[in-house]
């Protein structure tokens, strides 16, 4: 069976689910953040696959912008984590519940 769009989308979906599992199950803020990156990359893979199999470069342009925004997002997010760690001395989500009612 030839490798087609379905196969790439399957890999993308599985990678997305892995990332989501990490966000839900892990308790370390940094690892949660890495799992978010995993989900972002899964979306990128789906877009590139669509771009290739529909013979249209727009999908790849989208990925180009996503990578740029992700880089900015990582910088801001990590700065937030560092600021949070300075205040609480912990990078554990169960210690960061001051917004909880």
């Amino acid at each position: 069976m030839n490798v087609g769009l379905e196969h790439y989308l399957t890999v993308s979906a599985m990678l997305f689910c892995l990332g989501l599992l990490g966000v839900i199950l892990r308790r370390n803020v940094l690892v949660i953040y890495m799992s978010l990156e995993l989900m972002l990359n899964a979306a990128n893979l789906a877009l590139v696959a669509f771009s290739r199999f529909n013979e249209n470069l727009t999908g790849q342009m989208m990925v180009f912008f996503i990578i740029t925004v992700a880089a900015a997002e990582v910088a801001v997010g990590l700065a937030l984590i560092v600021a949070l760690y300075r205040k609480r001395q912990s990078a554990h989500v169960e210690d960061l519940t001051s917004l909880k009612l």
Partner: protein, 170 residues
């Protein structure tokens, strides 16, 4: 089975294996290990991009993600100097419901993807190299405004990070 097909299975397997090791590593709970496996995941994904003829994006993926972003991650991990975190009591209810939800989502996605014939070009000849992407980005006019907005966004992120990293957060 042709060589690209074989390479697809190799890279797909590597991507999913390393991705799983980022999320749950049976040997180590250290964030540095997760970060290293994330680098490997990204490199395997770049391999998949090459198979999809997206050469420019594969290079950018390695340079920006595996290079810049992961260095940032490692810097922060080492800056925080996390103690070997003691095992906390596991929330079994959370694990079961969370895994159930993710499995449900995965099942739904698989059913959708494999529901019927997807519309796709038989033998695609699209090449995503630097020239083609630059042409698409700068000459068609469609992406000129987003491009400028992204540059402003990067500036905003830079200023925001400097503000957030100040000693006293007001």
């Amino acid at each position: 089975m042709t060589l690209p097909d074989l390479l697809f299975y190799v890279f797909a397997f590597l991507t999913l294996l390393f991705g799983a090791l980022v999320v749950a590593n049976p040997f180590s709970r250290n964030p540095v290990t997760s970060a290293m496996f994330l680098v490997l995941t990204i490199c395997a994904l770049a391999g998949l991009f090459v198979l999809l003829n997206a050469f420019f994006l594969a290079a950018v993926q390695i340079l920006v993600y595996a290079g810049a972003v992961m260095v940032l991650f490692l810097f922060v991990i080492m800056l925080l100097d996390l103690k070997e975190e003691q095992r906390r009591k596991i929330n079994l209810f959370g694990i079961v419901t969370g895994t159930g939800a993710v499995l449900g989502l995965g099942f739904l996605l698989m059913r959708t993807i494999w529901a019927g014939e997807l519309e796709q070009a038989g033998n695609p000849r699209i090449i995503g190299d630097t020239k083609a992407l630059g042409f698409e980005l700068f000459t068609k006019g469609q992406f000129l405004l987003p491009f400028e907005i992204v540059s402003v966004l990067l500036l905003v992120a830079m200023v925001g990070v400097i503000l957030l990293s100040k000693k006293e957060l007001k």
